[in-house]
C-alpha cells in the first residue's frame, strides 16, 4: 500500500535496531521513505554504525565528530578533530586515513576546511604539512616557498619545477654604474612578468633633468628582481625599441647588458666603427632623454 511503511521486524539486541529491508523494498511506488526522522540516537557510550551485507560500513564515533567509512580493520584515528576517515583495507597495523578534517594534524594527508578566520580556505595537507590551499578568492595557492608544478619533460635531462609566476610593476631610473645619482622624470613606468626564474621587464622612462651626482656608465636601475649570480655566464640582455634626446653619442641601436648579481642593466651600443660594444655614460642623459625598452634576465630568485 503506497504511503504506508510496513516494518515486519524490529529486533532490539545488543543495542541494535534492525529494520528488515525486504519490507521497505515492498513499497509499491518504488521509493523507500522512512518518514520524518528527527533523531537517531545510538545511546550513551555507543558508536552509531550502518551496516551493509552484515558488515559495518559507516561508523559515527562516540566522540560525536568523526565519521569512519569502511569495515573496522583495527586502525586508529585522531578523535580530537572533526573529520571523515577512510579505513585502511586490510592491515590492522595501518592507521586510518582522514579524507577531510576541520583542521590539520601532524602526520596525515588529507583535506581540511579552514576556519572562518581564513576566509573558508580549503587546505591540502600531505604527511602533516600544509602544501596548497584554495584561498578566499578561489585561487589555488602554494603554501610556503619552493612548491610548484613538476612537468614530466620529454626533452630535458631532469624535470623542472615551475614554482613561480608573478606580474607587477617596477620603477625604472637612470643611474651610474659607479656612484649613484639622481634625476627628475616626466614619467617612469615599468611592468614585469616572472615565470620560474625568467624575468621579462619592460619600461618607459623619460627624464626631465640631467643625471646629477652619478659616475660611471649609464644604467637603468630598479629592476624588480636581482640578477642571477652566475658570474661570467650569460644572465640576460635586452633591447631598446625607442630612444631620443641623448647627447654625446650617436648610436645606431641601443641594447642592454647585465652584470651577474646586480639589479641594473647597462645601455650599450655599436657605433659602426669600434669592434667592441660601447657603453653609454651618465652625462649622455639630457633633460628630454626618453627610452622605451625590454630587459630579459635570469633571476637569482
Amino acid at each position: 500500500m503506497a504511503g504506508i511503511l510496513i516494518v515486519d521486524q524490529i529486533q532490539n539486541s545488543s543495542n541494535t535496531l534492525l529494520i528488515n529491508s525486504g519490507a521497505l523494498a515492498a513499497n509499491t511506488v518504488g521509493t523507500t521513505q522512512l518518514g520524518s526522522i528527527t533523531n537517531i540516537n545510538s545511546g550513551f557510550g555507543n558508536a552509531m554504525t550502518l551496516q551493509a551485507n552484515g558488515t559495518t560500513a559507516i561508523t559515527v564515533d562516540t566522540n560525536q565528530r568523526t565519521i569512519v567509512a569502511g569495515a573496522t580493520n583495527g586502525g586508529s584515528y585522531d578523535s580530537t578533530s572533526s573529520g571523515i576517515y577512510f579505513q585502511k583495507q586490510t592491515s590492522s597495523a595501518e592507521v586510518n586515513v582522514p579524507f577531510i578534517r576541520s583542521e590539520g594534524d601532524s602526520t596525515t594527508t588529507h583535506l581540511a576546511l579552514g576556519p572562518s578566520s581564513t576566509s573558508g580556505q580549503l587546505r591540502f595537507y600531505q604527511n602533516g604539512s600544509q602544501r596548497w590551499y584554495i584561498n578566499g578568492s578561489g585561487n589555488l595557492t602554494a603554501y610556503g616557498s619552493g612548491l610548484g608544478i613538476t612537468f614530466n619533460n620529454a626533452s630535458a635531462l631532469t624535470n623542472s619545477i615551475l614554482n613561480d609566476y608573478e606580474t607587477g610593476t617596477w620603477t625604472p631610473r637612470f643611474d651610474g654604474s659607479g656612484t649613484s645619482g639622481s634625476a627628475s622624470y616626466s614619467f617612469q613606468s615599468g611592468f614585469y612578468t616572472k615565470i620560474g626564474n625568467m624575468v621579462y621587464a619592460s619600461y618607459d622612462i623619460a627624464a626631465s633633468s640631467t643625471l646629477s651626482g652619478a659616475t660611471g656608465q649609464l644604467c637603468i636601475r630598479g629592476l624588480p628582481f636581482t640578477v642571477a649570480s652566475n658570474t661570467y655566464d650569460p644572465v640576460g640582455g635586452g633591447n631598446v625599441g625607442y630612444f631620443n634626446s641623448f647627447t654625446g653619442v650617436t648610436p645606431y641601436t641601443i641594447t642592454h647588458y647585465l652584470d651577474a648579481s646586480g639589479n641594473y642593466a647597462y645601455f650599450v651600443y655599436g657605433n659602426g666603427s669600434a669592434s667592441t660594444v660601447q657603453y653609454m655614460a651618465v652625462n649622455n642623459v639630457t633633460t628630454n632623454s626618453r627610452v622605451i625598452g625590454v630587459i630579459f634576465y635570469r633571476a637569482a630568485f
Binding site: E166, T167, G168, T169, W170, T171, S177, S180, Y192, G222, L223, P224, F225, T226, S229, T231, Y232, D259, A260, S261, G262, N263, A300, F301
Partner: protein, 85 residues
C-alpha cells in the same frame, strides 16, 4: 556612499645569498574594506645601497645583513665583472 581606499603593505622581503634584498609591495584597492583589486610593485636593493625612504622593516633587515664584509664582497664581485669587459 561607499568608501574607496588604497592599502599598501610590504608583504615580502627576501634576502639573497650575496646580501641583496628583494622587496615586494602589495597595493590593494578596497571598497568599504572589501578588496576590489590588488597588484604588486617590486624593487631590489644591493648591499650598500641608500636606504632613504625604505620601509622600516627593510631598513632593519638591511642593517642586520649588510655588514662591512657583505658590502665589500659585493663590491668586489661587481668590480671583478667590470674589469673583465
Amino acid at each position: 556612499m561607499s568608501t574607496l581606499a588604497k592599502v599598501s603593505i610590504i608583504d615580502k622581503i627576501e634576502v639573497l645569498e650575496m646580501g641583496h634584498i628583494q622587496v615586494r609591495q602589495r597595493n590593494a584597492v578596497t571598497e568599504d574594506g572589501v578588496e576590489l583589486s590588488a597588484s604588486y610593485h617590486r624593487w631590489s636593493l644591493s648591499p650598500g645601497d641608500d636606504l632613504t625612504g625604505q620601509d622600516p622593516k627593510v631598513v632593519a633587515i638591511a642593517n642586520a645583513t649588510w655588514t662591512s664584509e657583505v658590502i665589500s664582497a659585493y663590491q668586489a664581485m661587481v668590480a671583478a665583472q667590470q674589469s673583465q669587459r
